[in-house]
Amino acid sequence: MDVTRRVTMRVLLLPGLAVLLFAFLYPVALTLAAPPDGDPATVARETGTLLSDPHLLPVIARSIRVAVMTTLICLLLGFPTAYLVSRAPARWSGKLLALAIFPLMLNTVVRTYGWIAVLGGNGVLSTASQALGLGRVQLLYTETAIVLGLVQLFLPLMILSSYSSLSQQDPRLEDAARGLGAGPGRVFRQVVFPLALPGALVGCTLVFAGSITAFTTPQLLGGSRERILSTLLYSRVNVSLDWPSASAVALVMTVLVLAVAALSGRLSKRGSTTS
């Protein structure tokens, strides 16, 4: 019976895998390798150009920088939030989580325009700063603005993934650590965080992937000066209609995200030689 069961189980996997292969991997691979007006050789050449052009390398660097910053800030803000929510009384934790999921429901364009109203030279922040006599602040169209917008976009994902790890943790571990003389900070750093690392890492991967591929937010908040891979991809596809070059950009983005996913998988495995 375990044999039939195993067979049944694998059969269950097939429809999903088939759709994944047929409706995702196959068309994407085909389009990346042979985009309109291009063939694998052109794409390879364009990729070479992208990776060697001294003007485009900073774009890659900025993409990575923005994604890493976004991920770190999401982790810094999201993990403690998930922790507090997971340790709050049950009747609160549900409502707090709902509040954290809320932003996922906002239209990206509108949400981003909200930021423009906050960050602009005449925006809420600047007005407040001027009222305090600190002068005009212009955060809009800077890397900071992109990071801020992306943080807002992806914080919920970080909170949700961390929460699912944290809520499964044995709360007695914290008691044990405190009983051994560790203050709240030490307990958090040495027990709570390392144990929830797998969830946090899933969150980091999702946020990193999202930040690398997000387009609307960087475009509207960063402007043309702060060009990153996704805006480069957009201009290749939507302005110059240079599809082989767009394929090259997409390939680089995909490889970056895969590398981060692999890294986080490895970290997670190393961190959790747990039961």
């Binding site: 759709v19 994944l20 403690p80 507090l84 809320f102 906002l106 109203a117 992937a209 957009y234």
Partner: protein, 262 residues
Amino acid sequence: MILRRPLLSLLSAIAFTVMLGPVVILLGVAFTAGSTLTFPPEGLSLRWFAAAVEYRPFIDTLGTSLVVAVASTLAALVLGVPATLALQRGAVPGRAVVENLFMTPIIVPELVLGLALFQQFMVGLHITALGTLIIGHTVLLLPYAVRVVGASLALADPKLEEAARGLGAGPVRTFFTVTLPVMRPGIISATILAFITSLNNVPLSLLLTGPGVATLPVEMLNYVQSSFDPVVAAVSVILLALSVGVALLTERLVGFNKVFGR
């Protein structure tokens, strides 16, 4: 809690401010009496809601968006739940690889997936725009279905299924009467996440439109390209209210902490 954990509480307060600040601004903008997207709003009125409800393209595309969101969410669950089951319970060889494979749709830029589906499906296979939209969104939502449902199934006692088999229930009956109900919280949360993700998606949908077929977010994006008044904010508030309604109902019925945690 707040007193005992000043630093964590501060970070979490910042997190909520960052997340919810734009919501407040959005509300302010949507209810403004003025005609520009400024904050704080210039007086209060419902005029932009009236304008939003009257604007035909939004109404027409809302229908499409809902159809796509419902169909692709269902499809993702129908494909994803059995796959999750197999991954969690089936001793699948190379499980980690397969699991990661199911996560790949979120790492490829959606613009590229959109282009690919347009080129290979709409043009190559003559599938309608609506069909291609549903296929594309299904692929995009699959990771949510597999991951979130998987998380809840991983926590359920596998002995429950053995107990059912031992009591004389065949595999199918066991699935529907025991496994599925046990996965319910995971399925509900996956449904919410997937539905919202589909309803708000722009980059994937951008190319997958056809004569008479477009999604609401794409139409909203188009709208802000040309006229920049609070109508879009009003539409967002309407969508938000709908989603919040669904979310509140879920929280009432199941509890988000159960959905995403334990």
